[in-house]
């Protein structure tokens, strides 16, 4: 660090945190040098969903983490706040996903502090894409596969924006809803049905109705998918549900979830 400011200057992209890490001798991700498929039974996190509702975007995830047919953890948090207006939800290997979330969070703050402006929505979406791409070597070997959702609020063109990614880092913007993880087929079916033939399209629903729908969709996924955890009222385990609106990211409290769950699911 002693010489950080004294080296001959070269032009580089300002405000890139991952580059700053490598310049400071902290490798975010070493090159993958192994070969052959992994035989380790990896911890996996599933099922996440997100859809646009009246005020913005709602993101929800169950709480179960599994390794093979073992339930590792029943209180995993897969819906992560990245900054005041962005949420990343993860399906896949938490070891990789949580690290990606940490890099992303620091990248956005680093950019804001060094450049004295917020990163654009496109810039943020692209940053996650790049992390997935950097992870591709591992993913190809079957280690640390992550398939995230990313939701944010665009202040330039007011409105929620929602993206899903594939393993290689391609980003897809969605207009209505997205789901990922092992329970996602059931969730997608429900969200599609509700959006087309429900009493209101998803983006016309109130926060309360949206929470109720998210809870029902996750319960349905848990019904047939053992890797998805449902609601456990006795142990106070509820899905994590966050909203992204003009006001920023908010977490729906356990109390609210419990009350909506009881009223909405007789």
């Amino acid at each position: 660090m002693n010489s950080a400011g004294r080296e001959p200057e070269r032009a580089r992209i300002a405000g890139d945190f991952v580059e700053a890490l490598s310049r400071n001798g902290v490798a975010y991700q070493p090159e993958f040098t192994g070969s052959g498929a992994s035989e380790i039974v990896q911890t996996q996190a599933t099922t996440i969903l997100a859809f646009k509702y009246e005020d913005g975007v709602m993101v929800a995830g169950d709480r179960r983490a599994t390794a093979g047919n073992v339930v590792v953890y029943e209180r995993a948090d897969k819906v992560l706040e990245i900054d005041r207006h962005s949420v990343m939800a993860i399906a896949g290997v938490p070891a990789t996903a949580w690290e990606m979330a940490r890099v992303l969070e620091h990248s956005f703050h680093f950019y804001r502090r060094t450049q004295m402006q917020e990163m654009s929505v496109d810039g943020k979406v692209r940053a996650l894409s790049k992390l997935l791409r950097d992870n591709f070597g591992f993913a190809m070997q079957g280690i640390g596969v992550v398939v995230p959702l990313f939701a944010t609020y665009d202040e330039l063109e007011p409105g929620g924006r929602l993206y899903f990614y594939d393993v290689m880092g391609a980003q897809f913007e969605v207009t209505d809803f997205a789901a990922s993880g092992s329970g996602s087929p059931a969730v997608r079916a429900i969200l599609h049905y509700e959006n087309h033939w429900g009493k209101k399209p998803l983006d016309g629903r109130s926060e309360k109705d949206a929470v109720s729908l998210a809870l029902r969709a996750l319960e349905t996924a848990a019904e047939s998918d053992t890797a998805t955890g449902g609601v456990d009222r006795r142990a106070h385990v509820y899905p994590v549900i966050k909203t992204i609106t003009k006001k920023g990211v908010e977490t729906i409290s356990e109390k609210t979830l419990a009350s909506i769950y009881e009223k909405g699911m007789p």
Binding site: M1, N2, A4, G5, R6, F17, A20, L21, R23, N24, V26, D83, R84, R102, V103, H106, H109, F110, R112, R113, T114, M116, G248
Partner: protein
């Protein structure tokens, strides 16, 4: 040149004089604890002089813009890298200034064949408790002055182009009641302290302390052509967002008092 002791001392003295001359006309900066956090205040042309460094750390700087920029980047980079590899809670101003900045600045100052940093820095850290707010001033030669602990603790930090101006600002604030002022009171005190600093920056040979009127005159004159820049580190703000530049409605009272309403 530096192989003889006398020449070395002479070279250092020349260098010190050169840097001090470069910094002498810089606009003062005041940082002050108030009941909701820490306030930074300065007056100057549009160029920003107060910056966010990390979750609870901010920086005010005077000197050459290029050097300020390099030091600001280093501070953010060191704090962010540590916050990432360990945890944001592990980032502390005491360690940032004592272990990273002070040796680096001293080194740059003493390497006679390389350029020194033409800058003087005032860092503040928002404490977990009000009485733990910390202020650290770092000079171009790496010397370091903190706001102290226990009974000797002072809930403020000052920065100016000359040593005299800094001493006078310090003495001015020392006479005031600084036990958890409200933001409006803190803005008043900070702008007056800025006025004292500027009074002595402009007139090195002032013998008498400035009166309230002469402080007001300094501010009136300055606000005709300059902007008042203020920022806070706020207690209870969302995580990672303690730093907030104040907007014109927050500082309007001060401006109206000295400039009159437009």
């Amino acid at each position: 040149m530096t192989d003889e002791p006398y020449r070395y001392v002479e070279a250092m003295a020349n260098r010190r004089e050169y840097v001090e001359n470069q910094l002498a006309t810089g606009s003062p900066i005041v940082a002050l604890s108030y009941d909701g956090g820490v306030l930074f205040l300065t007056v100057g042309p549009e160029r920003q002089k107060v910056f966010e460094i990390y979750d609870r750390i901010a920086l005010g700087a005077l000197g050459h813009p290029g050097d300020i920029e390099r030091l600001r980047m280093i501070a953010i980079e060191v704090a962010s890298t540590e916050g990432f590899t360990r945890s944001p809670v592990d980032v502390s101003l005491r360690r940032l200034t004592s272990y990273s900045f002070s040796p680096m600045l001293k080194n740059a100052f003493e390497q006679v064949y390389g350029p020194p940093f033409l800058a003087r820095l005032l860092f503040a850290e928002l404490g977990r408790k009000h009485e733990l707010d910390l202020f650290v001033r770092l000079d171009f030669d790496g010397s370091l002055q903190t706001s102290g602990v226990g009974v000797a603790r002072e809930p403020f930090g000052v920065l100016a182009g000359t040593r005299r101006a800094m001493n006078e600002m310090h003495d001015f604030l020392k006479t005031k009641d600084l036990s958890s002022p409200k933001l409006s009171t803190a803005l008043d005190l900070a702008s007056q302290a800025w006025g004292v600093g500027t009074f002595y920056t402009r007139g090195q040979d002032h013998r008498e302390k400035p009166t309230d009127e002469s402080i007001a005159d300094v501010l009136k004159e300055a606000l005709k052509t300059n902007v008042l820049e203020a920022a806070v580190l706020e207690c209870g703000a969302p995580e990672h967002h303690a730093y907030r530049p104040l907007d014109s409605s927050d500082v309007e009272a001060v401006i109206v008092r000295y400039r009159g309403s437009d």
